[in-house]
Symmetry: C2
Subunit: 184 residues, 2 copies
DNA sequence: GTCTATACCTCGATAGAC
DNA sequence: GTCTATCGAGGTATAGAC
């Protein structure tokens, strides 16, 4: 038995890590399976032992990113200090620069919009989960607030990433933090 | 003189209209020059009489979209009713569905983030212009508010577009409108 | 499970006729 | 300026050996 089960699971995890990193940085179309597999220290042919297609990889990568990104810290019984910490880490240049695990909602927003059913569905589920968790907090007045705050945070990161002026990006993130913190 | 100057200008405008529509809907990589030219009722070979490359087309399409999208209504001497109207039209399902001219800031956000210098620069300039105009309004307290409100509106549209649940998208847009209108 | 090799396809860009 | 034709590069997915 030359390849153990843990070996395969380890390979799969490495592929997903690479996929999240590359898809978030370059978008679905610009990433090649060769890139992903090389980044995971494997060869292209081995890909199909783990995923049926590039589309399936993308869908699984969104879930993987949701489990590892900043929003994953939103457990079911999140408290106020944890939320404050999340806001601080989310609306930060290190997140925008993708130095840690990126939030798929912000990094893949317009990339998902052009995809088909299953991928959109996955994105939607991830979004719903987060809005539900934020909305369950005692300091959040209503669902309206949870929706608007999520849009503000996602939009802030998405725009900050597109700008080529670091100072403006920092100002934008700071303004978003101020706004959000005034509402929680 | 078989081709007049207005004929060329007309062709160029048609190419740009098609480019804005297709890039906004599908993103940079998924759009082929063949698609753009067919949509503009021309053939692929004619493309290079108007633009040096696909990258240049993309950059010019961002400017074209900025001049025709909802934010174009923000003239230098915008007043309060015009702003209210802009918010209503921007955070609307018809905009999300790209039934009118789309706002490049929302539709191309993560698509621009992966591009190179000149394109990012163009996006940044378009964004700066809008923040400046919004910030100049008497009811906007400070630059912080202008930045946060823009992020909220762009994020709202970007996320609403990615979701596959129309009801949730509508709720999201409505929440964003409520939030923004409370601040202007 | 992972590798090499390859079939098949599509796209950006160019060449040359009109 | 616009057309047809084509080159060359690079992509997904598959086949078959180990």
């Amino acid at each position: 038995m030359p390849y153990s089960k843990t070996h395969k699971e380890n390979s799969r995890r490495r592929i997903l890590d690479s996929a999240v990193k590359l898809f978030s940085a370059q978008g679905y179309d610009a990433v090649t399976l060769d890139q992903v597999m090389q980044d995971a220290d494997l060869t292209r042919g081995a890909f199909y032992a783990h995923f049926k297609s590039k589309q399936v990889l993308y869908k699984d990568a969104i879930l993987h990113a949701a489990s590892n990104g900043p929003v994953a810290t939103l457990s079911d019984k999140i408290d106020q200090p944890a939320l404050t910490e999340l806001i601080r880490k989310y609306l930060d240049m290190s997140h925008v620069r993708q130095e840690g695990s990126p939030c798929p909602l912000a990094f893949l927003a317009t990339d998902v919009a052009k995809q088909e059913g299953e991928i959109r569905e996955t994105y939607t589920q991830v979004y719903k989960d987060i809005v539900d968790k934020v909305g369950a907090l005692p300091t959040i007045k209503d669902t309206d607030s949870a929706l608007a705050i999520s849009a503000l945070m996602i939009g802030g990161v998405a725009v900050a990433r597109a700008l080529n002026d670091d100072e403006l990006s920092r100002d934008l993130l700071k303004s978003c933090r101020k706004f959000v913190e005034a509402f929680i």
